[in-house]
């Protein structure tokens, strides 16, 4: 059975690019338009990996990670940040919030798939 990835980003074009790349590699993708939407979708179904942007309306990526880590079933789910942010300060905050990795945009689809495979197989 295909593994499911929750892709959270307020940019519809970016979500499309992520979904296109991951689906081509055989993953199922659930899309969410911001952190709040991502949290709601994560509650509705358990996913194998969360890929989230940082700067989004309603709820940002770091807040989403902290909220997810408080949910049963999401303490150990891999969460990767996919963001334009590249400062060490933000990466440290992401790590402290519970992120398992940091990918700086723009992403290369092949590289994204390699990372996802490394994390969830």
């Amino acid at each position: 059975m295909a593994k499911t990835i929750l892709a959270v980003d307020d940019s519809s074009s970016l979500r499309q690019m992520v979904a296109f790349s991951l689906k081509a590699a055989g993953y199922q993708v659930v899309e969410a338009v911001d952190g709040q939407d991502g949290l709601e979708k994560a509650k509705l179904q358990t996913v194998d990996l969360v890929l989230t942007d940082q700067n989004m309306p309603k709820m940002d990526g770091l807040t989403l990670i902290k909220s997810l880590r408080g949910l049963p079933g999401y303490q150990k789910t891999p969460i990767l940040m996919l963001t334009t942010e590249s400062s060490e300060d933000m990466k440290t905050k992401g790590r402290a919030a519970g992120a398992n990795g940091w990918l700086v945009k723009p992403f290369d689809p092949q590289r994204l798939i390699e990372v996802v495979k490394k994390v969830i197989g």
């Binding site: 980003d9 690019m17 334009t84 994390v119």
Partner: protein
């Protein structure tokens, strides 16, 4: 010069210098963001055009090979290998296009920041005008000094709020794939 005039002069100077510093700082940032947006857009157009042309070329070549097969010609070993490799070639160009298409995410963040900065500057000038309206020709020196003090304070607060709200989240100047770090 009387002390009162000196105080008034000092308040006017502080206000003018505050408005000038604030305006210049934000307009410099607007300029930087717009230059960065232009660079990203130019690179995106260049790379997407290149990917489009490359995909078009491979698809054309593949169609020619298919046409030869349909005409009953048996493919040579070289043609077979070439046909097999075409899918990978197309995938490589599509991947490059996917990376370039992410310009929209970055430029929209930069433009949003510019827009908020411009709106903030307009609010700043509105505050200046509103406080200025309270200064009448018949106002005495003390009243003018008080009003100038208030407007300087209001503008300083607005300037701080605008700066704190506009942290820069996009530093990219090229559409090269970014770093990956697993914790």
């Amino acid at each position: 010069m009387t002390t009162r005039k000196k105080i008034l002069g000092s308040h006017v100077k502080r206000l003018l210098s505050g408005v000038s510093d604030h305006g210049r700082r934000h307009l410099s940032e607007v300029e930087t963001d717009l230059v960065q947006t232009t660079l990203l857009l130019e690179e995106a157009v260049e790379k997407l055009t290149s990917s489009f042309m490359a995909i078009h070329h491979v698809v054309d070549s593949r169609q020619e090979a298919i046409n030869r097969l349909l005409a009953g010609q048996a493919p040579t070993a070289e043609e077979s290998a070439c046909l097999t490799g075409m899918s990978g070639e197309i995938a490589g160009h599509v991947n490059a296009a996917v990376t370039s298409m992410q310009f929209q995410d970055m430029t929209s963040q930069l433009l949003d920041r510019t827009l908020r900065r411009v709106t903030g500057l307009r609010d700043f000038l509105t505050t200046l005008s509103e406080h200025g309206d309270g200064i009448l020709p018949e106002s005495d020196g003390d009243e003018i000094v008080e009003r100038l003090g208030k407007v300087s304070m209001a503008l300083a607060i607005q300037s701080l709020e605008l700066r704190s709200m506009l942290r820069k989240s996009v530093e990219q100047r090229h559409l090269e794939s970014g770093d990956v770090e697993l914790f």
